[in-house]
Symmetry: C2
Subunit: 403 residues, 2 copies
Amino acid sequence: MIPLGPSVDASRLDHLVHVYRDGLLDDTIPFWLRHGADPEYGGILTCLDRDGSLLDSDKGVWQQGRFAWMMATLYNTVERRPEWLAAAGHTLRFIESHCIDADGRMFFHVTRDGLPVRKRRYAFSEAFAAMAFGEHARATASAPSRDMAERLYRAYGTHEPSPPKWSGTRPMKSMSRPMIQIAVCQSLRESIGLACADADIDRAIDEIRRDFMKPDIRCCMEHVGPRGERVDHFDGRLLNPGHAIEGAWFLMWEGQARAAPEYVRAGCDVLDWMWERGWDQVHGGLLYFTDVDGGPVAEYWHDMKFWWPHNEAIIAALLAYQLTGDAKYARMHTMVHDYAYERFPDPEFGEWFGYLHRDGRLSSPLKGNLYKGCFHLPRQQLVCWRIADGIRQGRVGLSGAAR
Amino acid sequence: MIPLGPSVDASRLDHLVHVYRDGLLDDTIPFWLRHGADPEYGGILTCLDRDGSLLDSDKGVWQQGRFAWMMATLYNTVERRPEWLAAAGHTLRFIESHCIDADGRMFFHVTRDGLPVRKRRYAFSEAFAAMAFGEHARATASAPSRDMAERLYRAYGTHEPSPPKWSGTRPMKSMSRPMIQIAVCQSLRESIGLACADADIDRAIDEIRRDFMKPDIRCCMEHVGPRGERVDHFDGRLLNPGHAIEGAWFLMWEGQARAAPEYVRAGCDVLDWMWERGWDQVHGGLLYFTDVDGGPVAEYWHDMKFWWPHNEAIIAALLAYQLTGDAKYARMHTMVHDYAYERFPDPEFGEWFGYLHRDGRLSSPLKGNLYKGCFHLPRQQLVCWRIADGIRQGRVGLSGAAR
């Protein structure tokens, strides 16, 4: 067993378990069930103001799948509370009835009652919905949910963005695609025993290591050419450190699940590199975008502090600590946990704010929109509760960590 | 003659003429000719760092048309400098050779040597290029440039975004379309005597007054339903005060050109309303986005201070003062002029920064990208030089103002 670093002693671990578990069960989930669940049409309303009041009745399809996944996962892994399964169920019915186009592809944005507003070229709606149907199948042994999970996973895996908005002049690919594939496969392996999960994950990790990870410059690229070429234009130079760090913990998670130290090492490399590139030395927290060469970024909001990169970094640092025992990850976890928990939680109405300026001042008080819903925060709370509890019980190192 | 307000006395006018004229001729235009003009392939490179060094060699097609329009306009209205006409000419050749697709529609984004990277659903590339070919025809009496201007204007006027990304569930229209039509018609009327200009402008102004201007709430909407319905969702509530204020001076300009006091009044109404909604009472300057009901805005960068809304408000306030003599517009002009000139100009390398945080701190040092080029600032400098000089010479009020 790897000795615990000095920063995570027993009382800190007790504190973390309390913060994550109680935050999840007493704050985050009640906030969304109380204010967001839509008993009239099913599904979840996420465009909410600070106090939970409705700002916009439209529904983001990503958020439908993510909410249903979260509810069913809680039901499967925390406690079999009927209201959680019911929330998953009415959201999946909304998805089935209203969020799938005639061609089998899913929409991105629908009205409260389920009329389509927007469809996008990328298939992330399908990815999140697949995860949700998988957890529902695990909860209920429903064959249709299982079939739907597999069908949507295939739709995600085989989808090529079409018609191309960008011409063939400068083909580029995004790390998002293999990265989200890893997460979906990990979820479906757990929920429905997806047969192709290990092989698909191995392929996705190979692609990330081969084409996106650049050890020579200590960087995980966000966009590269088809064979991993660096593209010296604004888009090609743009880094999203929090996004790469989310990918980092997917890699470590796979290393843990498969007892594959090289995957843990790859995840720790990405975490190390993108922490160096993304941590704001002036104000703390993770910058949203940076440039691979340190130059100006073309996106206006490049230096804002968004909530979700902090959720992902909190997971990645704690998991790296559990798997390696390296005290630097305990310190990293403390830095990002403390930064985030001092600034993002709303002390008056609960849940987290989403958007801060670089110096930590609040930019927008809203609690959700088509991009922010019931996902990054509660997933972090659930995953980190389990990790902190595992460390507390001595499950550390690659073989000791809980799957 | 309307008496001048107390805020714009003769010495202030002398100062303004100096700031605008010398800024245009000694700073802005030399910056872009020195750093941006591309002698190798033609056209203008706008993705420049603070010191003018190249950040990205890609070319925005909007910026090609805008630069060529600016150069040819200077040649036609300021001085017949051969280098200005040459810059317009090599940019128009680049546009003709590389920026027009086989279907007659224009691209949005091309490589330095003119290979297409991106095409968009909207036809603003066509609008700016039409203005540029028109001014070139005026400078050279070139029949092909005149024909191209008319053809591209027709392409803009008849273009319907297609294929629709948004389904028919919630059709909306943007103020941009009639507003840019006014500007293009005004330009082509001046340069090539476009025959349909007055009628097309009247139709566009009718649409803005009927569907976008809401006197009951003192607001000019950015997006409405097809018949001017207010749409109570994030997109429908989103206001862009600087954009509406740009439209305000197009309306006033038309009132001046046609001796139509109702157009001047409409322009002043939009300016008054959107100043009330956009001016930041805490830090000064114009907020980028606001919500019609005062609620949170979904866009992350809502409270930033961009350069161009300030250029447009500087024009609108000074023109409103020239046309009405109302001292409140002199005060408004002084407020926005002083705010902008204290913060946006780069004292070291010249030209203006583009992106400030709400409190005026610099967000990005870059001088240009696909959206920021040689347009809003030099147009403001040229237009306001002429207005300030006109006021100095007593050309005030609707009939006295120079066309």
